[in-house]
Symmetry: C2
Subunit: 343 residues, 2 copies
């Protein structure tokens, strides 16, 4: 059997894993941005008919998963595993959704790296022949994240210049071992990140906390695979925001790697031109919605052939910050390629 | 390639995955119980030289992982992946340990089912040829869990009759595709659970919340594999405690399955005869310490040949309980068999 594990952290899948269904959801603020037409679900307001922000977030998770499964022409009972998580304590958005969906559940926590982590694990389940179909998903919500990690939004606490807005939204995709003619999107590799921590203690500067993790995973990916920025049409980070993105490109430059022509950031893209969006979007739902909406649309159209999706997660804990700890971060990278099958 | 996915939720590994190293840790109360001599690390007190209970829990996680890797004759840098999580918000025990250990990190959240979930994912990584070595781990701590989920222990809040004591402890094991003569412990299968919720809203009655999840996973395992209780020397749940264990056996009886002769529970075993231990132990560290200490010792001695380890997790969230939700639970089962190699 072919050894799929190359270098220290990188996996090359034996054969491509197909993305056979996908969906994205975004909230009202996110739908003011330039990517609106690419989101499958536009959530009308912060509560979406529910009694709490947390229940609204669960609805986003559940509806996004259902929509992704539907777009694959399948039903929840066809899914072998749901691999997913979210930002909330005890990953309640994912857990309660799993209860409603009735799909065998593998809960994960990777903070805002969750979409990439779920796709890596889902692709391993499919490629390893453990699953015919795995659905990978995550979500986040501005109001639930702010009140858990910082201040309830009702307080109207002013933002600092480096802060980002947690995206209300989510994304899901269905992975399978073989695709139909229409399924031209494939996962061909992945790099699993180590936890990196350069000592940032500011819960309002997630970009700076996560940029070093993104850099390490990207450099490791190049080292393990022998690839360079030129091998990708886009290297897209999940939610570094504008400040974190600049840091990443600067740090990469100092390491002799020029990312400037290929790097983009989902957090910067989703809120481009939207007033009061600070340094851009963050949260699990940010990269998830932009990837499963805009970016995979662009790939399906043929505008992008090879994408490195690097979702970064700050393992921010109010408890450990109170105890004087800094914010450890992790980044996982997924190689997504457009197959030669005509879309 | 052989299809490893049988039934809806059950995996039969193509070839056995070896447990080539392991370690368990237990706190001072746990070491008053009958299993003391089986724990590799006896934690002397609740702080273990640290400034907070959370930091002490992180030390338990990290030291247990290091000890397991050492017992495999390996070093942290030999590990391809660390698959683990814990009960604390943002899985900080696992996350900060991953930072110190420098092993590529796949964080999971399965509440008290974490040990089984990490072993299932680790075994898939190894069997799928994605890793040479995967280390799987979890931990819990009485004081960190009580203050996060119920009341700070300093308040001295009285216990209810169905309550359990979160175990201070942890467990870790190193999985590999091939074993030495001494590595007679193998993982041969697994059943991934669905999220089950029969409406329990009492955060002090985890046994009742989790018993239906254990039942469903055990029955699914039998259905998917054609096995019965007689195929196992022991079917051991993670932490149902004495009350939840009785419920499980009763419910199974009503479904026509007699578990009474083979069922045991780590939570009941760890505190047997220890005063003030209520309905027994709970927490990720409970099943993890008892499995990686006592149970695998018994298997290595030859006293047990075939074990079904069913770790149950209550996805208890203070936030969702406050919002009137009930406690969803999940159970994952791992088939552990003693290989025919002479130990």
């Amino acid at each position: 059997m072919q050894k799929k594990h190359t270098g220290n952290q990188t996996i090359c899948f034996g054969k491509p894993v197909y993305i056979v269904g996908r969906a994205s959801a975004a909230g009202p603020e996110e739908c003011k941005g330039p990517l609106k037409k690419h989101f499958h679900i536009c959530v009308p307001d912060a509560l979406w008919g529910e009694e709490s922000f947390e229940k609204a977030e669960q609805k986003i998770f559940e509806q996004t998963v259902k929509r992704a499964i539907q777009s694959a022409g399948k039903k929840p009972q066809d899914m072998d595993f749901l691999v997913g998580g979210d930002l909330l304590n005890q990953i309640i958005s994912a857990g309660y959704s799993a209860r409603e969906l009735g799909i065998p559940f593998l809960g994960i926590y990777g903070a805002c790296s969750t979409m990439a982590q779920s796709m890596i694990m889902g692709a391993m389940l499919v490629d390893g022949n453990f699953a015919d179909y795995a659905v990978c998903a995550t979500s986040s919500h501005y109001a639930t994240a702010e009140r858990q990690f910082r201040f309830p939004v009702e307080l109207g606490t002013p933002k600092t210049p480096t802060s980002q807005n947690t995206v209300t939204g989510g994304g899901a995709c269905v992975l399978a071992a073989s695709g139909e003619a229409a399924d031209c999107l494939t996962i061909t590799g992945a790099t699993v990140g180590c936890v990196v921590d350069l000592g940032i203690k500011d819960a309002n500067n997630m970009g700076a906390a996560m940029a070093p993790a993104a850099l390490e995973t990207i450099l490791t990916h190049f080292e393990d695979t022998g690839k360079s920025p030129a091998d990708y049409d886009m290297i897209v980070t999940g939610d570094l925001g504008t400040f974190g993105s600049e840091l990443l490109v600067d740090m990469a430059n100092k390491m002799g790697v020029d990312l400037s022509s290929v790097h983009q950031d989902c957090g910067s893209m989703i809120f481009e031109g939207v007033p009061d969006s600070c340094c851009g979007g963050s949260g699990c739902g940010c990269g998830a919605a932009v990837l499963n909406g805009y970016l995979l649309n662009r790939m399906q159209e043929g505008a992008l052939q090879r994408l490195l999706f690097v979702a970064t997660g700050a393992m921010l804990s109010p408890t450990s910050i109170q105890q004087g700890e800094s914010v450890p971060s992790v980044a996982h990278a997924v190689v997504i390629e457009r197959s030669n099958v005509q879309c």
